[in-house]
Symmetry: D2
Subunit: 344 residues, 4 copies
Amino acid sequence: MEVAVLGATGYAGCELVRLLCRHPGVEIAFVSSESHAGSSLDLVHPQFYNLFELELQPLRLSAIPESVELVFCALPHGSSAGVVPGLLAAGKRVIDLSADFRLRDPELYEIWYSRTHPVPELLDKAIYGLPEINREAIAGAELVANPGCYPTAALLALAPLAAKGLADWDSVVIDAKSGVSGAGRTPRQPFHFPECTENLKAYRVADHQHTPEIEQCLSHLSGGSVTVTFTPHLVPMARGIFSTVYLRLQRGCTADQLDQLYRDFYGGHPFVRVLPPSRLPETRLVRGGNYCDLGLRFDRRAGRLLVLSVIDNLVKGAAGQAVQNMNIMCGLPEETGLTQPPLC
Amino acid sequence: MEVAVLGATGYAGCELVRLLCRHPGVEIAFVSSESHAGSSLDLVHPQFYNLFELELQPLRLSAIPESVELVFCALPHGSSAGVVPGLLAAGKRVIDLSADFRLRDPELYEIWYSRTHPVPELLDKAIYGLPEINREAIAGAELVANPGCYPTAALLALAPLAAKGLADWDSVVIDAKSGVSGAGRTPRQPFHFPECTENLKAYRVADHQHTPEIEQCLSHLSGGSVTVTFTPHLVPMARGIFSTVYLRLQRGCTADQLDQLYRDFYGGHPFVRVLPPSRLPETRLVRGGNYCDLGLRFDRRAGRLLVLSVIDNLVKGAAGQAVQNMNIMCGLPEETGLTQPPLC
Amino acid sequence: MEVAVLGATGYAGCELVRLLCRHPGVEIAFVSSESHAGSSLDLVHPQFYNLFELELQPLRLSAIPESVELVFCALPHGSSAGVVPGLLAAGKRVIDLSADFRLRDPELYEIWYSRTHPVPELLDKAIYGLPEINREAIAGAELVANPGCYPTAALLALAPLAAKGLADWDSVVIDAKSGVSGAGRTPRQPFHFPECTENLKAYRVADHQHTPEIEQCLSHLSGGSVTVTFTPHLVPMARGIFSTVYLRLQRGCTADQLDQLYRDFYGGHPFVRVLPPSRLPETRLVRGGNYCDLGLRFDRRAGRLLVLSVIDNLVKGAAGQAVQNMNIMCGLPEETGLTQPPLC
Amino acid sequence: MEVAVLGATGYAGCELVRLLCRHPGVEIAFVSSESHAGSSLDLVHPQFYNLFELELQPLRLSAIPESVELVFCALPHGSSAGVVPGLLAAGKRVIDLSADFRLRDPELYEIWYSRTHPVPELLDKAIYGLPEINREAIAGAELVANPGCYPTAALLALAPLAAKGLADWDSVVIDAKSGVSGAGRTPRQPFHFPECTENLKAYRVADHQHTPEIEQCLSHLSGGSVTVTFTPHLVPMARGIFSTVYLRLQRGCTADQLDQLYRDFYGGHPFVRVLPPSRLPETRLVRGGNYCDLGLRFDRRAGRLLVLSVIDNLVKGAAGQAVQNMNIMCGLPEETGLTQPPLC
C-alpha cells in the first residue's frame, strides 16, 4: 500500500518516516514540506542519508499520486483542516496528527485554539484514534484524529477507571512532564539549549489546549461531564511524557482488584504494559517504542490513588500511534512495524 | 567567628564550604570527612584548588578546636544524632542538616527512618530552621534542624495559606520534581549517568520520608492535623526542586487577594520572591542562589489553586538555608554571604 | 539458529538482546549474568518487560544448550579469556566483545591490560571483527574479536588512507569524545549524574588501552609500524563516539580524489556512510543505528586533513557490529536485523 | 565608579550584570538592549527579579550618563565598531567584548568576518585584553579588546611555550569543545534543545573566525609567524570550553621542567591554576568562576605534549575576563568581585 506523509520535516513527520520506511506493509510514495520543498528529506534529517531520500514536495493535493491510499497529515494545527476535506474527497483515508479533528464540539475548538473551525461538518466523521478505546471504529474510519501526546498518556492512565465508574472526577489532578520535542521543531527562546538544559518549568498552567481533549474522552467513557486539572511541565530531555495522575475512588477497592481491572481492560492491547506492582514506569524504558507503561500506587494515608503513565511523545504520543491506527484501518496485525524494543 | 563543617565532602557539605569560604563573618576552622580523612578538601572537590584547601579530619569531637563556636552537621541521617549531643555539651551551637532533629515526635522518626531515635530528649530543644516561619526562635537556638529540601519548597508554597486557615487540606497534592544531586554523592545505579539522562521517573511514591516533616509544619501552622499526598520525581538535571502544589481553598478568594496575602506574609523575607502574576518559576532562575520563587495560578474551571515553587536544593534546600540560619543565630544581617545572583 | 549471550546485563549485552530479539535469523536461547543470575532479564532491564523475558543463568558452559551454535561473550576483559576456550572446544562459534582476543601480541596485552594472557595460543585463531576490513576472514572464523568502540571509529576514519599509504603516521592525532555508556554499567563516582552532566573532561590521556588496538590494525593495513596519539574525552550524553582525526598526507591529493578514495574503499559496505562534502557527522545522526558516518575536511592553511567519524558506541562500537559479524559468519545478508534508521 | 553595559540581554551582557551588580567597586548606571529596550532587565532575565531591575535603554550614546566612566560593549560583531569611536570621543574607557578590535590587521578582519573594518585607525589603539600576557598595557588602555572564548583557553595553554620558544608550531593542533551558550542567545536550529542534547558535532572546521586571533597572539609572543589547526566542537552542556592542545616541543624537556615553566609563567596571576601533575581539568570545576585550569601530559610514545585547558566561556571567556580587565584598568585588586568559587 502506498502512503503519503504531509509535513514530513517536523518531528512527528520525521518519526513517521522512521517507522514507515521499514514497515513491511507500506511504501512511502510522497512526502511534503512547506519549508523545505525541493530538497531531499535527508538534507533536513540527515539520519536518513542513504536510507530514505525522497524529495520533499510542496503541498498540493493534485501532486499526491493517485496510487496513495492513505495520507498522514502531520501539519500544524489549522493547516490540517484546510487539507483534509480535499484528501477525503479524493478518496484517500486520512490519519490526522494535528488537533483539528479531535474535539467534536466546534465551539470548544474555537475557545481553545482561537480560531473558528473551517469544516465543522467533518467533526462527526472523525474517529478519535486511541486504539485501546476505539479499535473497532478506527478499523472502518475514513478520517482518524490521532490523539495528542498528553491526552494519550493521561487517558490510558484513566480509561479503565472511567469505564468502570470508579473515579471521583472532582478529585482528578493530572501533573504531566514532557520532553522538549513535544514543543516541535521550530527554534524558540524557551527551547534554546542553554535555557532548557538543567531547567524545569511549568507552562500553560490551567490553560493547555489538550485539557478539553482529555475531558471529552473521559466524559464519553464515564457517561458524565468531566473536568480535570491538567498541568504540563517541560523537562530537560528530548523525548518522553510522564503523567502523574492523582484521584480518589468512588468506592473502596483493593490493590489487587485495581491491578486486575487494568489488566483486564488492556488485555489484548499489546502496547499498554501494566507494570507489576513492584515496578514504576520511567520514560527511558519506552523511548523509541510504541508502549505506554502504567504503574498504580495507593497513598493509603491520604486516601488517594496514583496512576503513573509514560510514553514516548513522538511514538505512542504521535507517529507510532498513527502507524498503529493505520495497521488497524488496513487490517494488518496491530503491531506491524512497531515491535522494536525501546532504546535505553 | 570560627565554624566547623562536619561531613564536608558530601554535596551539602561541599556547598557549605563554597558559601562559607567567602562569607565575610566567619572562618572555617575545621572540616571533617569519614571517607576522605587525611586528604585535603580540594583533592575531593577540585574546584577548591588554590581557593580553599583545608585538610579533612576524621570526626572526633575532641579534635574540633575550642575556638569553633558553631558547627554545621552535614552528616548522614542517623550519624548526626550520635554527634550532636556531644557538640552541645561542648558549648557549640549546632545547625544540623540531617533529618535527625526535624520531627518532634520520636515515633514518627522511627516509622519513617526505620530506627529508634537515640536522643529523643533533644527533640524539644531543636528549632525547625525555616527562617520565614521561625526566625525568632532560630535567633536564640542552640540546635537548629535545617529543613529538608522538599519540605522547604513545599512549605514556602503553603505556609501563607496554612497561617490564614485558607487551605482545604484534604485536597492538597504536592507533586515535586528534583535534580539528581538531591540523592547525594554516593554513586548508585539509578543515578548512573546513562540511566538518568533523558529519563524521568517517580520514586518512593506515597512513601517518602519528607512527608511527615511537611505535615508536621503545616499542622503546626494551621492548628490542625494535616495529611498530604507528596510525590517526588527525579529529573535529569543536577540541581533544583520544582514543587507543583494543588489544592482547593476553604473560601473564595480573588487572585489579587491571594497575591497580596503572599506578599504580606513574605514581606521582610528577602529570599522568598513572590513572582508577578505574569511569570512562572523555573529552577534555573534560582540556581546557585538562596531564593525560593513562588508563582500562583487559579484553575478556575476545576476550582483549584496551584502554587508553584522552586529552589536550588543544595542552597535554599540545604547549605544556603543553613548559612541563613547561622546569620540569624549570630545577629548578622540575614543575607550576609548569600547575595550573589543565581547562575543561569 | 540459536545463540547465547554471556553477560547479558551489561550495556553491550543488553544491546545485543535488543538487536537479537527481533533478528529474523536467530533465537536467543541462553542469557547469562553473574550479578543477576536467577532473575529474569526484564527485571534488570525493564524495557524488555513483556517483550523478552528469558531467565538469567549463572555462567556455566555445561548449561549452554547444545543447540546453541554461536555465543556472544559480552563479559568483562579478563573473564572472556577464561570462557572462550571451553566454548570453542564445545564446537561453538564465538564473537567476543571483550578486549581479550583483539591484540595479537600477548606482550602488548600484558602491558596495556596489566595481566598475563591466559591462552596466548588462541590469539592467532582470533579474527579481528571489523567487517569493512576483514569480511572474508570473518566469514570463516571460529572466534571473532569484536573491535573496541574507539578503535572502530578511529579505524574506519583511517583505513582507506592506511591501505593506500597516504598517511604521514607521525602526524596522526586522534581526539575522541565518548558518551558515558562507554564506561559500562557499574556506578562509579566519575559517572554519577551530578558530576557528569554539564561537564567535559579527558581521561587516560596517552594511556588508554585502545591505543595499541588502533595501532595494530593501522600497522597491518599500512605495512609499517604505526604509533598514534589517542586521547579520549567524556561527554555528557549516554551514547555516541565522535573521533576527530588530524593528519598530514604523504603526498598531494585533491578533495575530490580523497572523497573518491573513501567512496571506493567503502563501496559495498552498507554501514559506512561517506557524507557528501557539504555535511559533517553528528553523533545523534547514528544513535541506535549501526552506521559509521565519515566526513572529510582539509585545513589548507595548516596543511592538514581532518577525518571526522561518528558511531553509536553500543551499536557499531559493540553489539551492532557483533550482529553484523554474526550475519557474515552465518552467510546472512550483512544488514539483517540492523536496518532500522537511527533514532534522533 | 559608574559603568554601562551595552547589549545587556545577550549571554555575555547578562553575565556582566551578574558579576557587576555585586562588585564592590562599581555601580551599573546604564544598560542597553536593542531588542528589549523599554523593559526592565529582569523581564528578560528573571533571575534578577528583586535583585537588579534597571530599565533597558535603546542604544544612543547621548543617553549614557556623563558620570559613566567605563563602558562594556557586549554588542554583536560589527555593531561594536560603530559605537566605540563615539564612546572614546566622549572620554569613556571601553572594554569591547566583540571581535571588532581584536585583530590588528584590518585585512584579516575583512577575510574572517566578511566585512570591511569601519575604523581601522582605532586598531592600533586597542589593547588585547588577556591580562596574563598584557597586564601592563591593559592598565593604561583606553580601549581593551576582550579576547574570544576559544582564544582565551587556547592561548593560556600555549603562552608559556610561545614565550620560551619551545613549541614546534607546525605540529600544533587545537581541538576545542564548547558548551552551547558560546553560540549566543538567539534561538537557531542547531541549538534547539532536541537537536543539541545527546549530540556532539564539529562545526566551522578549519574555518572558525577565532583562528587568526589565536595565531596573532602566538605569533606576537613567539616572534614568528604561527599557523595552527583549530577545530571547535559543540557539546551538550550550557557552559564551558575544553581545549586539548597537541604539539611537539622544539627541544627535550622533562615533565618537571615544563611544570615549573608554567608555574613560573603564571605566578602572580590568580586566575590561572596550573594543576598538580596527578590531576586533569574538567569544565565543571571552573563553572561560574573566572579560572582557567591547565593540565600537562606527555605522550612519550608518540613524542607529543598535550596541554589541556578549561574555562567557563561566559566568565574567563567573556564577562569575567572583562571585569578582570576593568579591575586592572581602574587600579583595583585584580580579583575584586571575582573570587567566588566555581559552582559544581
